[in-house]
Symmetry: C2
Subunit: 110 residues, 2 copies
């Protein structure tokens, strides 16, 4: 437990860019947010939607995102289990970042 993601340099304090990067800077965070986007999506779907990600990373990043209030997790006490993920209000605020990344990628890399 408490496998926090933050360690980074001693002074990420006053720089909002760094602060954001601390949460969104991983290899998968933004991709996951990008895939969830405006929909209600289940764990299995998400996994299929992101080729190449391992279950561990998917769960780990999802937990981080939930912990940071960007993603909402709703588990139904059923058999078999069903868990749905959606973006929170804060999570939606990351979409401009992702869109900017997408625009940049299309203009310069494809």
């Amino acid at each position: 437990m408490s496998k926090e993601r933050k360690k980074i340099t001693p002074s990420d304090d006053h720089c909002p860019v760094k602060a954001s990067l601390n949460i969104l800077g991983g290899k998968w965070s933004l991709i996951i947010l990008y895939q969830i986007n405006e929909r209600v999506i289940r764990y299995g779907e998400l996994k299929r939607a992101i080729p190449g990600i391992s279950e561990k990373m998917l769960i780990q990043e999802l937990n981080n995102l939930v912990k940071n209030g960007l993603v909402n997790k709703k588990a139904y006490p059923e058999i078999p289990p069903r868990v749905e993920y959606t973006l929170t209000k804060s999570g939606y605020k990351t979409l401009p970042i992702i869109e900017a990344l997408a625009v940049f990628g299309e203009e310069n890399l494809l």
Copy 2:
């Protein structure tokens, strides 16, 4: 040499977000671009402007950015040496990404 940054998953192909992340996803790339911004800045200034970065990472990331056409490097054959870095036209296109990150950080993390 040829210390490419790309490896990532086998299919970063069609996803512009991933493609961008391949170049900008490092720990320092966006911070560096953020600091260069609209100015003409020298190596030493840049180093001072980014507390916590090691010389190795600064040079390495700068080289990557130059290689990817986001940063322009101009070296003057003087003693002592003087090297100036500026954003290229493509580099400027990353500023919206950074601004989005800054906005998000200010709204949600500070």
